[in-house]
Symmetry: C3
Subunit: 351 residues, 3 copies
C-alpha cells in the first residue's frame, strides 16, 4: 500500500513554479504607482486598527512597497533585526498568525507567540490594560486578534508600542482587506489611476454579510477610498438585514454605488471581481452562511474575472476553481505576506 | 458606534513616554554601586534555583548590570547569538515566559517554548530526569516553571546546562524577587550603601503569606542579605499561621526585625515600601487572599512611599493608584526584563 | 526542608561532561566514510517522507555530515539565516519538535511552531491541501507530524517547499531511524564498510511491533540498505501477527535474515544491538506493549552490546541501565539533533 505512494513526487526534486508572469505584472504595478514614500512615513509609530485610518495614497504606497518586496525577495535586508513582535491570538488562528510572524522574521525580527488564551493572565482575571502595559516592556509591535471588538481599543489605553488589529470580533480586519486590495491592483495595475476611463471601471460582487463579517467591513471601507474605480458593488446575500446601522450610508457617501441581490447567479456574469467568504465570527465562535452561495468552475463567471477569498475556505469555494484563471485567492494569500511586511516595516520606520 | 472610536489615539502618532527622569535615577544607581564584575563571574555556568545562592555583592552587581542595560539599550550587543533558550512552562504563565524570552532575544539568542503540559512527554509518563537529558541536547539554558517544588531539583540530577527556576510550586521565584530588589534600589540608590545612616533605613510592609507565596519567600531571603537597610518588616495578614517551619527564625537570624499585623491600615502610614500580592499557588492551582487587604489611592499611604506588586494583579491593587507616584509596580515590571537579561548573560559568561 | 536541598549541585558550577572519547569515535567514523558530497546533492529540494527514498550511499554521507557537525560545533556557520521552518505537530510531541527546531536554529534559521491542532484551520474544516498552499507562502521547509498516514502525502499535492515526515500515523518516521543508524555506525565505524568480514557482522534484536510502530518500520527499511552488515534480525514479540502485508517479504528480498522470538531472554545474550520501544501509535492515540518485555541492568546482555530506544521511555527500559555502557540511547538522542541538521541543510543546498 505504502510502496505505491512512493511515486514521482518523491522520486524527483520539487518542481519550481514558473512565476515569471507574476513578476512581470508586479513590475507593471510598481511602475504604474508613482513613488511617494512620505505617505508611508505617515504610518510610522501608529496603531493600525481600522481601515478608516488609511488614505488612498497611503494604501497605494503600501501596495507599491509590497510589490517591491514580492518582486525582489533576494534584495530584502533585515531592517527589523533586534526588534520583537508579539502575536497575541486570543482568538486562535494559525493562518493569520503565521502570516505576521513570517513577515516579521523575513525582515530580520524575532517573535513571541501567545496562542492559548487559557495560559494568559487574562485567565486569572488580568485586565487588557495591564497586559498592554506588559507588552510595552517586551516588544516593539503587538499583533492582536480577539473575539471582542473592544479589546484592541482597551489595550491602546496603555500601549506605547504600535498595535495591529488582526481581527476584533465582527468589527474589522484591516490588514486582510489591504491584502485584498493588493490582489486587485496587481491583477489590473491600471486601476490605481485616479483618472480611470469609464470603460475600465469594475463591478465587484461580495458574497457575504457586511454587518457580521469583519473582512467584508474593512474591505468595503477600502473600496470607499477607491470609489473612482468601482462601477458597482453588488452584495450577494439572501438575507435582508445585512448592513449595520449607518454602514450603507457611510459607504455611499464616499461615492460607492451599492446594490444587493439574493441570487448568486443573477449578476455573476457581469462581475469582474467576486469576493466570497462564508465564515462570520459571532462572539466567541463562528457561523457559516447557511445557504447555497457556492462557486465552482461551472458557475457562470465572466471570462476574465477573478475570485478572492480570505481563506480558510469551506464548501462555498470549490476546488474545481483552483486550476482556472479565476483563482486569484492563492495569489491574494501569498501577497498578504508581502503586504504585511510593508506595513510592519512602515510602522517602525523613523522619519 | 465604531466610528466614534477612531479618536485622537488613532489619528496621532503614539506618544513617547518621557523617561529622562528614570534614566537619571538609573545613572545615579550605576555610579553608587562600585563595579566588581568578578562577583558576576561567580554566577557563570550555575543553576539559579534559590535566593539562598546569592550574596549581597552578587545581587548588587546584577542590579548594576541591569541598570546599565536599561539606561543604554542602544549599546546592547548580541552576546547570545547562536545560543538557544528553552522556556518550559509546565505551570502556564505568559507574563514570566515572555519576560525571559524577550530578555534572551534582546541579547541575540533564539528561543523554543513549551507552553502546554499536555503536549509533552510528561503526559506519556516521561520522567523529569529524561526530559532534562533531552534539554541538554537542544539548548544552552532552561527556564522552568512547574507547580511542583521538586521538579527543578529533579531536573538538575540530569542537566549539564544551567536551569533558572521561574517558580517552583509555593517554594521560590528568585528572579522575580531580584527584580523587586532592583525596583527598590533604583528608587533610592543610597540603600545600596552598607554604612547606611539609621535615619535612611526603611520600613517594608508585605501584604501576603510568607509560607504560601513563592514571590514573598524569595523576597524575604533577599532582604536578609540587605538587613542593614531594613528598620522593620511588617507582615500584613489577618491569619496566624503564616510562616513555614523555621522560616521566621532563619530570617531573623540574618538581622531582620519582623513584626506582624492583621490590619492593613494600622501601620500603612509608616511604611516606605509596600509589597502586595494576592495570589498564592497551592499545588496545581491558585487561591486569592480572601480578605479586604486592598490598596487604592484613598489608602493612608506615606507620601513618598512606593508600592510593589509582581503582577498580574486582582482587586487588591486598585487602578486608581496607577497614575500616582506610589505606582512603582510598572517600573518594577519593566526592570524585571533588564534584570533577567543581566542574569541570563552572566550564566553564560566564561571567566 | 528546602535548605537541605541547597546542596553541592547548587554550590558549584555545573560539571562539564568529558566527551573526548565520543569525539575520538566520531573522528574515526568521519575518516572511515569516504566523502562523496554528490550523494547529498541528491537530497536537495526533495521531500523526505519514507526510508525508501534513501540509498546506502546517501545515508552514509548524511551520517558523515552529522558526525562533522557533532565533532566541530564551533565551526558551524549559519547557512539557514533568513530561512524559516514551520513545525506542524498536529500529533503533539515536544521532543521531536524541539529536536527539529533546535537543529534549524543552530544553523541560523528562524522557526514558527504549530503545537495545538485546535487552533488551526483544520479545526474549521480546512483541507490539508489548502494548509500546504499556505505553508508555501510562509516558510522554506515544513516538518509534519500527524496521526494520519495520508496527511503528508496529501500536503505534497500542494507543496512547493520540502516537507519532512516526522511521524505519520503508524507508517514511518524516517529521521528517527536515520538517527538510529547514526548511533549504530558511531558505535562501530567499521560497519560502514561494504566488504565487512563475516565475524564483524552484527545480530540486531528489535523489541516491538514492525506493523504497528512507525519507528520500527523505518528502521527495518534502513537495515535493508545495509543488509551486508546484519547477520540476523530478531524480532522480540510474543504476538504472532506482527508484520503488515508484504512487509517481511520486502525486507527479506533485500537480503535480511529475520527471525522471531516471543521471549525476551531467549536470544538476548547473542545480540549486539537491542532496539526497544514500547509505544505504538494507533490512530489518534497510542498503546503500550502490554507485556513483560523489559530491560534492566540485570538482563542477560552481551557484554559489549548497546541498547537503542527512540524515547520517551516507559517502564520497558529501566533507569538502572543509564550508567552502564549499554546505554547508547542518550548518545542516540543527542545524535538525532546533528543528523537532522545534516538532513535539513542538505534539503536546501543548491547544487
Amino acid at each position: 500500500m505504502v510502496t505505491e505512494k512512493l511515486d514521482i513526487r518523491l522520486r524527483n526534486p520539487i518542481p519550481i513554479k514558473d512565476s515569471s508572469l507574476h513578476v512581470t505584472k508586479l513590475k507593471k504595478l510598481i511602475t504604474t504607482i508613482e513613488e511617494h514614500p512620505d505617505h508611508l512615513l505617515g504610518l510610522s509609530n501608529r496603531h493600525v486598527v481600522s481601515a478608516r485610518q488609511f488614505t488612498t495614497e497611503s494604501v497605494l504606497q503600501l501596495i507599491r512597497l509590497a510589490a517591491n518586496y514580492e518582486s525582489f525577495p533576494l534584495f530584502l535586508s533585515r531592517p527589523l533585526a533586534g526588534k520583537i513582535l508579539i502575536t497575541a491570538f486570543y482568538e486562535p488562528s494559525t493562518r493569520t498568525r503565521l502570516s505576521f510572524e513570517s513577515a516579521w522574521q523575513q525582515l530580520g525580527g524575532d517573535i513571541m507567540s501567545i496562542t492559548d488564551p487559557a495560559t494568559t493572565g487574562m485567565a486569572k482575571g488580568e485586565s487588557l490594560e495591564d497586559i498592554a502595559e506588559m507588552f510595552n516592556n517586551y516588544c516593539d509591535v503587538v499583533v492582536l486578534r480577539d473575539t471582542h471588538e473592544d479589546s484592541v481599543y482597551r489595550m491602546i489605553n496603555s500601549l506605547i508600542v504600535p498595535i495591529v488589529n488582526a481581527g476584533n470580533g465582527i468589527d474589522e480586519h484591516p490588514t486582510q482587506a489591504l491584502a485584498d486590495m493588493y490582489a486587485i491592483f496587481r491583477w489590473r495595475p491600471i486601476l490605481t489611476r485616479l483618472n480611470l476611463p469609464e470603460e475600465q471601471k469594475i463591478k465587484v460582487g461580495i458574497i457575504g454579510n457586511p454587518s457580521q463579517m469583519r473582512t467584508v467591513r474593512s474591505l468595503l471601507l477600502f473600496f470607499s477610498l477607491f470609489s473612482y474605480m468601482v462601477k458597482e458593488i453588488v452584495i450577494i446575500n439572501p438575507d435582508n438585514d445585512i448592513f449595520s446601522e449607518g454602514q450603507r450610508e457611510e459607504l455611499e457617501s464616499s461615492g460607492l454605488y451599492i446594490t444587493k441581490t439574493g441570487s448568486i447567479t443573477e449578476r455573476l456574469r457581469e462581475l469582474d471581481v467576486i469576493y466570497i467568504n462564508s465564515i462570520a465570527w459571532i462572539g466567541d465562535t463562528y457561523e457559516r452562511l447557511t445557504s447555497d452561495l457556492k462557486l465552482s468552475k461551472d458557475s457562470p463567471l465572466k471570462p476574465d474575472s477573478i475570485i478572492l477569498h480570505p481563506l480558510a475556505r469551506g464548501k462555498e469555494l470549490d476546488v474545481s476553481l483552483d486550476k482556472t484563471p479565476h483563482n486569484w485567492y492563492f495569489i491574494q494569500a501569498r501577497g498578504a505576506l508581502f503586504l504585511r511586511m510593508a506595513l510592519l516595516n512602515s510602522l517602525l520606520k523613523t522619519p
